[in-house]
Symmetry: C2
Subunit: 315 residues, 2 copies
Amino acid sequence: MNPPAPNIEEIGVYIPAGRISNRERQAQFGFDDAFLENKIGMLATAVKAQEEETSDLCLKAFAALEAKRPVDRSALGCVVVVTQNPDSNLPHVSAKLQGLLGLPERCACFDVSLGCSGYVHGLAIVQSFMQAQGIAQGLLFTADPYSKIIDPADKNTSLLFGDAATVTLLGERGRYAAGPFTFGTLGREHEELRCLPGGKLEMNGQAIFNFAARTVPADLRRLLASAGLVLEEVDRFLLHQGSKFIVDTLIQRARLDPAKVPFAVADYGNTISSSIPILLEKEIASGTARTMVLSGFGVGLAYASAVLRQTSFAL
Amino acid sequence: MNPPAPNIEEIGVYIPAGRISNRERQAQFGFDDAFLENKIGMLATAVKAQEEETSDLCLKAFAALEAKRPVDRSALGCVVVVTQNPDSNLPHVSAKLQGLLGLPERCACFDVSLGCSGYVHGLAIVQSFMQAQGIAQGLLFTADPYSKIIDPADKNTSLLFGDAATVTLLGERGRYAAGPFTFGTLGREHEELRCLPGGKLEMNGQAIFNFAARTVPADLRRLLASAGLVLEEVDRFLLHQGSKFIVDTLIQRARLDPAKVPFAVADYGNTISSSIPILLEKEIASGTARTMVLSGFGVGLAYASAVLRQTSFAL
């Protein structure tokens, strides 16, 4: 018999202090206040120091986790890092972290390559892996510093994406249980968001917007149906923070209560797979939401959604 | 209740026709026949065409799978690609394949970044993901074309690594069931096998050899103990084909019967995460092995081992 699936115990977040102001780029890119405030919704993007590596961001997220609660490193049985911008293509970042954090040799380490849907996918992957392998505690990192691949002169991307990292501690005494999940991929549209040869990011913002506006509302309906939930029973919808306009559009098209849907990235930008766990950290701290829905969408093009329910350990 | 874990149904293999002869490089690198035949054991390495991308190799492995047995693409619920040399860092190769193969939108797609231990890790990851998500059929690809990152003038790497791809079809009627698994990582040694800034592969062959010779025999003992097996009950040990010398050393140190341990890469080289499934394809075809052990080791430094047992569908 498999043990029960592990749950979300706590989240550590690291957002670098560095900022690039979007207001200061209004003249350069020629957009007005309404575009900045109502469409993009990001007044600044967070940017790591040049020399900070992806693994460094992860270590700082882990330090933030340890500042909140003690973590018994010797009890950790797996480390998964969601990134498409690792320190280098090989080795995987998770192996470096295993060494740098002094984790047990028997810790299973692997990286998962996914973008803005990566946290939700990653939760499903690490949870099922831990359950099947009988691993009681594990770490799920997200760290995808797009500053490595963004051309500062590209208006389509440089105003949106910020650097950050998070780490989620999963264990038997977790405060939120994840599932069911839904997953989707539209690989025929993969060229709409990609790295070009040479490594620079290229995005067709309109295509990504249309993709999310078209697929996510139906995906949320499907998720809720499979969970046996109605909209009113969900206390929070933590949607990937792609832009203010996409979040507003999803509120409208999925008929969500705007008071249940945070948009909280004005100060640091779209942090790819870290956007949802950054919101989730605050919800865990407040503990008021009993039922939440997560939904991520982006690179692939891919999307994934999940229900989170408070466990008895949250009380 | 979760359904039973899916099993290995069939494997498709693609090894590019291109070869680089190691005999022709004896003068350049200054080694003798004994080194080539007894230490390395690779007389040639397979090399893809310059323009072939990682996803192209995967498509050819899938074509080889379809040539063996029909695959109902509409029934595929996930695609996982193990690679550290994707087409580009984003999007993930699995999303491209979802589009190119015309797979269902509800197919969950992600890439896993691991090296020579990647097939064994990947089996555990995809199997547990499918089981937890109730996915009946899925694909696990391996494709890590090191010709992208090898310096042909580097004797440490250019004589060893070959290009290849495989795809494993997993499903409820699979012929081999995988598990239990063991995993290990020694991240403090991650610099012994890595890509340098600029993208070229660098390997400390002696360190990798020592790592494998030290960790794998103990890992096999631990795996067999956890599976309730003794050495004599295992019909085949499919060890990662790092070099003839490491396979011979593991035979000796783990006291394996040499007749049970194939070394079959003289013609195409060490194909990283594809080395084990290439061997396994032949075992599935012959069907004589009832119980097998897989063990992969390399980048990370990481290792993973698994027991495979024939199911009733193999008969």
